[in-house]
Every structure is written in structure tokens, then in C-alpha cells.
Symmetry: C2
Subunit: 563 residues, 2 copies
């Protein structure tokens, strides 16, 4: 298992010249029996002294060599090395711990785990300092020479492991006297004293190394502050990150972001399933470019063409006409819009729902509002560690959740905006800037980062929107906002075929082009309303992240189809 | 609210000819004072009698007319009629009941609900028999004339409502003395006595009526048996159903099928989330046609092309290389295969998972097997009513779930098949027929409709499959089967870049064409395994349904892109 140790041939000791031993107390004689002359005696004494010194030196060399040999046998060879390619040969059933366990209260406990090497530092031949990362935890670890346990060779080997290598580690959790300073280490009050370390997966010498995960984890503020020091830190540009997304996704921040993303869809489902919604899957391949031809991708479909669904709108309504009552879908939506902004992608995840109601579309509006309150209240409870991890790199204020739903009607919002100096007509749609301003006004007035804007002008909504019964300039439709940005659009839909055809005609859509959709209503359909939520947008605004690409695992935009 | 009642003008009573009144006891005289002749007296008496009869008749007509008028005022006008188009004007907050409540134990209780009219029958002017359907329940209801409650007009109006109209009904649950015979009524021991009925959504006269939902709900056996009777029932061909899928989906059977579909994905998630899997969403738009160019759809992407992902294989592995550890995805997969069979669709739902393991890919294989046992055991517990509803139309045996996972190795399966008379080479893939035969052998031997076939020959598996460490003719890969048909394919994947590139080269795939994927492994990747499950196939084989189109809400195949 260990690297081959270097063994040199043992140095041969030169033989000492033969001298007849002098018996204690007896005088030394010449071979002919005559006593030695004074000169002879001096010479002999000199030679003896020389040989003694020589022997002494030789003995010392021999002793050193023995020590060196002993060292090179490497008493620690079983404690480190490269594991063979795992092709599933053995099962020991060992339990792997989470790095979350590395904390002061576990001081002295053994731990066994696998992790990536995030950074490696070797201040002397006797130590290696590593930071080890797994999921969204990053801990400090020390491998130090120790008699009978950690050999010089072991330290030397560990020091050669490149960052991003995956290692299997045996060690002891050890409380530290003062908090670990590194901004990228997440567990501050304990470290690991490593006793065994094996390489599970190595980083190839030919692997790209566009940046270090450690650097990719730093906040803007930290990078900024470092520029005036002697160790300025590099900022990692967005495109470099996305071009090397696998590496980028390994940061503790990204590990946390996508767990919060999962949290949102999980809470969305949890809330709806408690209310007996049925999950549906509607086709992404469509026979016609329906809702709005301009922003639809065309697909070669055998000898003809198909189009990618730009939302499940038509089919989720068909599911209502088909009596499913309350439906939801989580699926990709495709938009062929050539928008290169921090808010647009060509493919994103839609959280869609549609619901037949009994009396009033506010039954649906209120359910949707309550659904969001549920998500906003549960996320900080269930994902507190993940949110805290994200905030280290992307500091943001807590998302203000109101006690009671805030619902504004459109004319009210227009009035508030005009009072704030914005100019807009009664039936104009809001600009992105006006949405932001409105978000700020609502935040101050209601202490809420979330509100619902109801009763949009009919003119700015799609043909399938139900007009307001009292004033046909308005409609039974709504948008929801987080931090002043739209995250959901919804409405009561027209469920009467004649009215629908009339509204389609106004925008130049023929009944024939949407035959099945219209037929669904001719065959009877309950009144219904719903909404479409952008998953990445909810995630982005909840965490206060400014580019939507950070909230999509492998984002797609007009210029990016890889990785 | 009620239909305008017909009012005719009151019949005028003709004036009687003037006769001088005879004072009591005084003889009647001629105008000249002479007494009346006998002849005159007789004539007068005759005329008087005639007028008396005439007046009597007139009074009777008058009385009848008054009665008729009283009838036409319609004492029940508040109890029925067409509701205005629901544009959300009022909120009463009434609670709508489920048709599930219509059962003998609720005898005498009031019920208020909305439902579709499935069938309507009017044996006399005094009754309408309706079957009313909501979700996967269908009940019998009677509207019968009753003094002061249900008028003749009300019965007449209700009788005109076409099937598939949506009505709001107030009534009383009433136990029936013997089970309701109709095969399409689901609640057999009680019916509803209707006291109020309003039309919520009408079926347009121009609506297509390709078939009745009632007929679309019958089993093959019932249709077959009816052919020799005087009321043969129509079978509804698959294409007619799919062309009118909204109508077809309304059958209690389809309402149940898609609730069981939801159950499968819900249980899939529930199991994986308990084990800390992270839900991911990988892009369906790909820059290159990677896994196998032949079966990939091409998309026009701005000035270039994109391709639709034929599975999340590459990206879910990238998520493992990016340290997400255990991931799952539920999303559409696209196959541009021109296969027109009952088992193929061009778009279907993939339940995918991928997992870094510690020591052996059997950790993943066993988790997957256990996941299926969980699904198979929970479905009949949580969806017993839905499964029973489906079986009325599609009778099938209970799906046999083993106590202990059945895992065969490939050479063992080859041996069993040869013993059963099948011919195949050691390293040949199994034919569909051989899979069925193997399914039967396993069912008999292990009393199980589910088994795992492990250690497939390397030659029949994709390039990213890890070879068996002891015999490179085999691989660490597996398929799972239900009722002798494949529902999942999986394997340990090659996580070493050099081995991967070698295996890619063997099948003629260049490293450049899959640069990001290979780089993920060069940058270090834990050993991992996973699998891809076809949702519709699991649903189909669990319920014993023979055409996969029945298990997809809006199926897509080479010839079908609508509705």
C-alpha cells in the first residue's frame, strides 16, 4: 500500500591493520623477542591512537547507518499510501463520519472519513497542515511526525498530494485553544490530528487547475481587503467559474446553495401534498408554437418539427379540464429569448400549480401566498447551517417574512409609486426599476420582503387571463415579489370557451392553432387559477445572490451550452 | 337563476246572453206583460240549463288555469338553474364534500359538492337518474318531483343537461337496499337524493363527443360479454382516446392511474430524502450529442444547434465529481427513436439517482433494491382505493413482493434460460422474450415479480461502465425487472479518467467530444454507482397495464405530438 521506500546498499567497513594484542601489564616485544626502542614505542603509540580514532569513527558511522536503516524500514508504512482503483472488491462495512462532527465537544474522539484536500501547507519536514472539505464543511487537519506512528516518509508523501485529491483519513478530534482564523474553514473550534491517510482518487497531472476552490470560496469583501496587503487574493470571474463548473460547485458555498435549492422544491411539494395536490408531468415536446411563437425553440422531430414548451401553462390547464382538480409540476421550461442579463436563462426550473376553486380565485391566491410563507419560515429552521455557509461568501440581510400576507391591488401600487416620484399610466405594466421601488416602499411600510400584487391591467396579461368582473380594464391576475423582484406570475384563467376564443381573436390567435386546448373548455371546465414560480429566482432572492447563474447547477443562456 | 317560465295569456270568459231575472216565486212574463206560452217556457228552461252548464264549464276552466298558473310560478325556481360565469364575485366559504362520503354509513346525511354528470336517464317526466363523477368516485343520484321541493320544471331542466356538464349539487345520502349494478358506479351501497342542482360549467353544443366517459371506463371483459346481448357496448380505440385525451383522462380509471403515478415519485423521493440525497436539476439542452448521437433530438439554438438530453447520465455523474455525494433527479428524458411499440415513447419521465459509495457498488445496488421494495410495499397501503379502481377496468394479479431481495448474476441467468430451452451465448444481451421467460422462472422459484440481474457482460454495456475486477468480460452493472420487463438500468461507473478514455476510444468516442465530463474525473472523483428508472414503466408493470401510453398523461411518440 505504501510508496516504495528508497534503500541504499549498506556501506562496507574497511578492515583495521593487524596488531598483536598486548596482554595487560606485559611489555610489548619485537617479533625477534627484543624489547622495542623508544622510537619504536613512540611510533607504535601514535599508530595505535590513530587506529583507535579510526575505529571509533567507523563505529559511529556504523551506528548512524543502523539508525538510518531503521528509519527507512518506515514503521508507518501501513498508515498511508495510494489505494488501488476501487472496483468494488471488498466490503468492510466501516462507517464514515461527517465532518460536521469535528467540533470542540468531541475533543479526543476518533474519527474516520473521506474528504477532499482543499489546501496543503508544509512549514517543515515534520508537519503537513491540510484543510479537508466534505459537502459544506471544511476542517483543519495536522499530520505531524510522531514516534512509531507518523514517520518522516509519511509526512513527505502526504505533502505531495495535490489539492482536490480525495483522501480517506483516520484521526482524532482535537479542540483548539483559539478559533481557527482561515475564512474558508467552517469548523472553527476543533481540528483533526491525522494518524492514517490514504489516497482514494488522485488529481491527474493533466487536470485543469483554473483556480483553487479555496479562492473560489472567498467573499468579495475579503478579496477586496486583501488587495492592499502583501498577499492579494484573486477574484474568480463568473465565466471562468462556469467554464469549470465541476470545480466551482465544490465550494462549501455552492454545496450549501444547492441544498437550499432542494429545500425550496421539497417544501413546495410538502405543502401541496398535504393539500392533496396531484403531481403531473406534462410534455416538453409540443406540436405547435403556441403561447408566443417568438420565444420558442424549434426541434427536428423525425420528418417534421416540434417545439419546446415555454411553460406547462396549456397542459396544466388541460389537466384541470380533465378533472385533476389540484395539480403541480416541477419541470424545465425553455425560453428562446436572446437576453444576456444576470436574471435570464434559456432553461430554468418551473414550479407550477393550477387549481380548480369553488367560489373565488382568492382561494388560490391565498393558498399560494401561504405556501410562500411556509417556505420562507421553514427554510431558516431546516437549512440554518447551509444559509449561514452561503452568507459567509454572500452576506445578506435576513429575508423579512410578514406575520400576515401583504396583498396590494394594482391601482394602490400605482398610487404609491406616483407618490414616490415614479411616472406611469393607470394601465401600464411596471418596469423592473418600478418593481424595485415598490419593493422598498412595501418593506418599509409592512416590514416584509414578500408581497402579492393583485388585479393587473388586462392589457398587460396573456389572453387566457380572466377579466375583472367589475372593471374589464383590470383582471383577476397577480404577481408575487421577493425583495422587489417578480418570482411568480398567476391568474384566474378563462374557463369558458366562447370568452377564450374572443380573447384569443383580440391578440390574433386562431382557434384552430390551439384546438385541443379550446376543446377542453368546450367540454366543460371548472373555474380555476394558478401560478408559475421560477425556482432559481426564489433561491436567488431568498439568499440575496445577484446572478441567477449561481443558482442553476449547469446554467444555460444564449451563449452557454456547456458544461 | 331559473330558466324563464312559460306564461300564456289568461283565457277571457265569454259574456252570457242577457235574461231578465225572475224574482223568486214570481212568474216570468213576456216584455209586453203577457204570460209565457208553454212552448216558450220549455225553450227558456232549455236555454237556462245550457247556460248553467256553460258557466259551470267556464268556472272549471278558470279554476284549472289558476292551478296551471300556480304551477308555473314554480315553487322550486330557487333550487336549480345555470350559475353565471364564475369571475370570482362572491365568497360564501361553503365546504364542498368528496364523493367518497356517499356510503351507507352516512345514510340520511346532507351533502354538498360539485361533480360531472357522467350519465343521465329520464324514465318518466317525474325522475332523472344521474351518475355523478368526481376524481375517481362515481355515484348514483336521483332527482324526483316532490311537493314544494322539486318541481316538474326542475326535473325537466335537469334532464336536458348533457353529460360532462359540471354541476353543484345539494342532496341527502341514502342507503340503497341492494348494491347498485352499474359497473362504472364506484360507490355501490348508497346514492344521493338531489334537492338542489345548479350548472357550473356547461358543455358547448359544438363540443366534440367522440365517446362517453362511461363507455371509456369499461373493462375489455364487460365489452366482450355485451356483444352477444341486445345492448352491445362500444370499445374505445386507443387513438380515439389519445386524440381526445382530456375526455379520456376523466375516467375514474385514469384519475386513479395518475394518482398512483404520483405515489411512485413521491415514495421515490421520500425514501431518498430520508437518506440525505440531494435533488438536482440538470440541463436538457446540451451542447453536443454525446451518449449516442443516433437517438438525440436536434434543437435550433439561436445561430447554432443544441441537443436534447437523452438522460441525465453525464450531468448526474458531474454532480458526483462536484462532491454532491448522493443525488437524484426526476425529469423528462428524450429519445429520438422511431419505435412505434406499446413500450416506447419519445419523451418519458426518468427517476435518476447517482451515489458515491464507500467500498463496493453493492452498497448502491442494495439501496436501489430496498428503494423498490419500499415503493412496492407502500403503494398498496397508501393507494388501495386507486389500485382497486384501476383493476375494475384492468384486472391484474397482485404484484408479488419478495421478503428478501432477489439478486441473480448474469451467468446464473444464462444457465436458467438454457435449462428452459432458450439459446444464447455467454456474453449476449437478453432479448425481450428471454427477459419475460426469466421473469417467469424467477416468479416460480422466488415468489417474486421483482428481481435484480447483476454482472452484465461488459460488451453489452455503455463505455462508462466499470469492468468486473476479476473477469473483464463482465461488469459491475445491473438491470432491475418487474414482471419480467426491464424498468431500471444501472452500474458502477468508471471514475478514473485514464480508464474512461481507454473505454471511450474502444467505441470510437474522442476525449475532446466529452471534454468537461472527462475533466471532472481528472480533477478527482469518488467511486460511484447509480441507476435510471422509467417512471411510466414502473407504473405500467405494477398495475399490469399493457400499453405505456396509458401511463403518460399526454404521451409522445414518433407519430403523436398532440394534444
Amino acid at each position: 500500500m505504501s510508496e516504495p521506500t528508497e534503500t541504499k546498499p549498506t556501506q562496507e567497513q574497511k578492515p583495521v591493520a593487524p596488531v598483536a594484542p598486548a596482554a595487560d601489564g606485559q611489555e610489548e616485544l619485537n617479533p625477534d623477542g627484543t624489547p622495542l626502542s623508544d622510537n619504536q614505542k613512540k611510533k607504535r603509540a601514535k599508530q595505535a591512537e590513530k587506529e583507535r580514532l579510526k575505529a571509533e569513527k567507523a563505529a559511529k558511522v556504523q551506528q548512524q547507518e543502523a539508525q538510518r536503516q531503521a528509519d527507512e524500514v518506515d514503521f508507518a508504512s501501513q498508515n498511508y499510501g495510494e489505494l488501488p482503483l476501487n472496483q468494488s472488491q471488498e466490503r468492510h462495512g466501516r462507517t464514515y463520519a461527517s465532518l460536521e462532527d469535528v467540533k470542540a465537544e468531541n475533543d479526543g474522539k476518533d474519527i474516520f472519513f473521506s474528504a477532499r484536500i482543499q489546501t496543503s501547507r508544509t512549514p517543515s519536514a515534520k508537519f503537513v497542515f491540510l484543510t479537508l472539505r466534505h459537502a459544506f464543511f471544511c476542517v483543519q487537519a495536522v499530520l505531524a511526525q510522531a514516534p512509531e506512528k507518523v514517520s518522516k516518509q509519511m509526512v513527505k508523501w502526504a505533502a505531495t498530494l495535490p489539492s482536490e485529491s480525495i483522501v480517506q483519513v483516520q484521526g482524532t478530534i482535537s479542540k483548539v485553544s483559539k478559533p481557527i482564523e482561515s475564512s474558508t474553514v467552517t469548523n472553527k473550534d476543533a481540528e483533526i490530528k491525522v494518524s492514517k491517510i490514504f489516497l482514494v482518487s488522485k488529481v491527474a497531472p493533466s487536470a485543469p487547475q483554473p483556480f483553487y476552490v479555496d479562492d473560489a470560496t472567498r467573499s468579495e469583501a475579503e478579496i477586496e481587503a486583501s488587495q492592499s496587503t502583501d498577499r492579494p487574493m484573486p477574484g474568480i470571474p463568473m465565466d471562468l467559474r462556469l467554464d469549470n463548473r465541476i470545480l466551482d460547485l465544490r465550494t462549501t458555498t455552492n454545496q450549501a446553495i444547492f441544498r437550499v435549492q432542494h429545500g425550496i422544491s421539497k417544501l413546495f411539494r410538502e405543502y401541496l401534498e398535504q393539500r392533496e395536490f396531484v403531481e403531473i408531468h406534462t410534455p416538453k415536446l409540443q406540436g405547435a408554437a403556441t403561447e408566443s411563437g417568438a420565444s420558442v425553440f424549434k426541434v427536428s422531430y423525425f420528418k417534421g418539427n416540434a417545439f419546446l414548451a415555454q411553460s406547462p401553462q396549456l397542459h396544466k390547464q388541460m389537466a384541470i379540464a380533465a378533472d385533476f382538480g389540484k395539480v403541480y409540476e416541477i419541470g424545465p421550461v425553455f425560453r428562446a429569448e436572446d437576453s444576456n442579463t444576470p436574471r435570464h436563462m434559456t432553461e430554468f426550473m418551473g414550479l407550477d400549480l393550477e387549481m380548480a376553486f369553488d367560489e373565488h380565485y382568492h382561494e388560490v391566491l391565498e393558498l399560494l401566498g401561504d405556501l410562500f410563507l411556509f417556505i420562507f419560515r421553514e427554510l431558516p429552521k431546516r437549512y440554518s447551517k447551509e444559509i449561514a455557509t452561503v452568507r459567509k461568501q454572500f452576506p445578506s440581510d435576513d429575508f423579512l417574512v410578514p406575520d400576515k400576507l401583504v396583498r396590494l391591488e394594482f391601482p394602490e401600487a400605482v398610487k404609491m409609486l406616483r407618490e414616490a416620484g415614479q411616472e406611469l399610466g393607470d394601465y401600464d405594466d411596471l418596469s423592473t426599476e418600478q418593481e424595485r421601488v415598490l419593493g422598498k416602499i412595501v418593506r418599509e411600510k409592512y416590514q416584509s420582503d414578500f408581497f402579492m400584487l393583485d388585479k393587473f391591467p388586462m392589457a398587460v396579461r396573456p389572453f387566457y387571463t380572466m377579466p375583472d368582473p367589475k372593471d374589464e380594464n383590470y383582471s383577476n391576475s397577480y404577481d408575487f415579489f421577493m425583495r422587489g423582484q417578480e418570482i411568480m406570475s398567476g391568474a384566474q384563467r378563462v374557463h369558458d370557451a366562447d370568452l377564450l376564443v374572443k380573447q384569443m381573436a383580440k391578440v390574433g390567435i386562431s382557434e384552430e392553432s390551439m384546438q385541443h386546448y379550446v376543446e377542453g373548455f368546450r367540454m366543460g371546465c371548472p373555474p380555476h387559477a394558478g401560478g408559475g414560480i421560477g425556482l432559481e429566482r426564489v433561491l436567488m432572492f431568498f439568499l440575496g445572490i445577484t446572478n441567477i447563474r449561481r443558482t442553476s447547477m449547469f446554467p444555460r443562456d444564449p451563449k452557454r451550452l456547456a458544461p
